[in-house]
């Protein structure tokens, strides 16, 4: 292989959380006077080095609480790492949580504009793509309903439709396909494979091992915030199965 162009570079990133017990000044003062610790430190992610090449599709695997979602949020820039640096090449779109970037008081239509614009798409391009997005989401008469009345599957449909139509160079997906129905799930997977065929970079978090075996060519396993394996998908999935 010729020296691949990197799409995502994680350079020694780590993340601690301080589990705060209080959110008001009064409580803080009372706790301080009583000499109680105000926070527990918790390391969700120990320093991670990882480079993902352009066009690669990588599965992030690991048990609950191992830090997968945290890692994706750092890549997406939603949170800042405590140490290190994340570098991304090109436009990034992430489906990190169902309904991310949607405002409950706006209609589906308004949310398409809002969400696409948050993902960095210009107005003219959104207008151009609008019909495709709506057709893909296929939520029928609910387009002009406030999204607070959507089911989680409908949320996913719209969010996924917007995200894939922004034509991201790097696409992050966190477990959310789980809430779609069978037909939509198949449609999404086809789309993801299309993105992959177009040479875009994918990072997928999922507990569905057969699914990631189909979608990804590389597997990265996290365990309690440590990167413990980085291998071709077959080997990584096998390691996960053994670890159970």
């Amino acid at each position: 292989m010729v020296a691949p162009v990197s799409a995502v570079e994680l350079d020694g990133i780590s993340k601690h959380f301080s589990l705060r017990h209080t959110h008001s000044l009064k409580e803080s003062v009372v706790w301080a006077l009583q000499g109680r610790a105000r926070r527990d430190e918790f390391t969700a992610l120990h320093p991670v080095e990882l480079t993902i090449g352009r066009g690669e599709s990588v599965a992030l695997l690991g048990r609950n609480g191992s830090g997968k979602s945290t890692l994706l949020k750092l890549v997406a820039g939603v949170m800042a790492p405590d140490t290190g640096e994340v570098r991304v090449r090109g436009r990034l779109a992430g489906l990190l949580e169902v309904g991310a970037g949607f405002h409950p008081d706006l209609t589906g239509r308004e949310n398409v504009y809002l969400n696409a614009s948050i993902l960095g798409v210009e107005r003219a391009r959104i207008e151009e793509r609008f019909d495709d997005i709506v057709a893909f989401a296929d939520i029928g008469p609910f387009l002009d309903t406030q999204v607070r009345f959507y089911s989680s599957g409908m949320f996913l449909r719209l969010a996924f439709a917007v995200a894939v139509h922004t034509e991201p160079d790097v696409f992050l997906v966190d477990e959310i396909l789980a809430v779609g129905d069978e037909a939509f799930r198949a449609k999404c997977l086809d789309r993801i494979e299309l993105l992959r065929a177009q040479g875009r970079t994918l990072v997928v978090v999922s507990h569905d091992l057969p699914l990631v075996e189909r979608l990804c060519d590389r597997g990265v396993v996290l365990d309690r915030g440590h990167l413990v394996a980085d291998a071709p998908i077959g080997a990584a999935v096998a390691a996960m199965r053994v670890a159970g």
Partner: protein
């Protein structure tokens, strides 16, 4: 770890989670306009008159002052009292709305902040824009009211009016950024802000003439100097200079002198606050997603 050199035609590697601050906001005006529209939509949800309410309220307010204070109570310490009072209130209302809503803006948009990246400065800035949208009708009422009272606009006065608006905008944005960021960590801030905003109308010559304060504190005293260098006081006086001063002959003489110097110092204070607000906001914004 290899550092890849940018090859020709490649998009560059960009460090994530490092906000470009207000400059980045300036580059995302369409998104800003959507957020402002969203805010207005939410505010006027299920209301028939919608934004029309922002015309009705100041118009009624002005009418009440004009009739109640001017014609019924006949207070005569200040000529054209309705114009004087309303001009000052416009400053206080827009400042209060901008700062109050900006303080809550990040917490109120927790859903967006927690789940997706966008320059977080957008939230306080959109609060300021919403306050700006509501300012329009108030200015209209002020101008019509002043014209009815006999105002003859002069170029210096219009410049003063414009200066007042810019000053309040910069001041509110700086404070808004600062308070919005701190409010994420300590929700008490929003209550403190509400309290302070209630008091602030009394710390500038909005309801009374400045001479009363001078008589109380002593002409040339330090306390009076502090009172007069408050940027909000300066903004109120600029609005008075812009409208009320030319509503009746003799009004202009009642304005305090040395306004020019205090305008300069107020802009310096406001810009310093803006720099501080931006810096604090930027330093804390990496923690917003996990604290909300």
């Amino acid at each position: 770890m290899t550092v890849s050199l940018p090859t020709t035609g490649e998009a560059p590697l960009v460090v994530q989670g490092r906000s470009g601050g207000l400059r980045e906001v300036a580059g995302r005006r369409f998104l800003l306009s959507l957020l402002v529209r969203k805010e207005l939509r939410v505010r006027y949800r299920a209301s028939v008159l919608g934004l029309g309410w922002s015309y009705v309220k100041p118009a009624v307010q002005f009418g009440v002052y004009f009739v109640g204070l001017g014609l019924v109570l006949r207070q005569n310490a200040i000529g054209d009292y309705a114009v004087y009072l309303f001009g000052g209130l416009v400053v206080m209302t827009v400042f209060g709305e901008a700062v109050g809503n900006a303080t809550r803006s990040v917490v109120a948009n927790a859903d967006l902040v927690r789940k997706i990246y966008l320059p977080r400065e957008l939230f306080p800035v959109s609060s300021l824009c919403v306050a700006g949208v509501h300012l329009g009708p108030q200015l209209l009422v002020l101008v019509i009211g002043a014209l009815v009272a006999g105002w003859s606009p002069d170029p210096v006065g219009l410049l003063a009016l414009l200066g007042a608006l810019v000053l309040v905008g910069v001041l509110a944005l700086g404070l808004g950024l600062l308070l919005a960021a701190v409010n994420v960590l300590f929700r008490d801030v929003e209550n403190v802000v509400d309290l302070v905003l209630m008091v602030v109308v009394w710390t500038s010559p909005v309801l009374y003439p400045w001479q009363r304060v001078a008589d109380l504190l002593g002409h040339g005293s330090t306390l009076l100097a502090i009172y007069q260098s408050n940027p909000l006081t300066v903004a109120v006086e600029l609005v008075h200079r812009g409208t009320w001063a030319h509503a009746s002959p003799g009004n202009a003489a009642a304005l305090p002198g040395d306004l020019g110097v205090r305008v300069a110092s107020s802009f310096a204070i406001a810009l310093a606050l803006l720099a501080l607000g931006q810096w604090v906001f930027r330093s804390l914004s990496g923690r917003f997603a996990q604290e909300l």
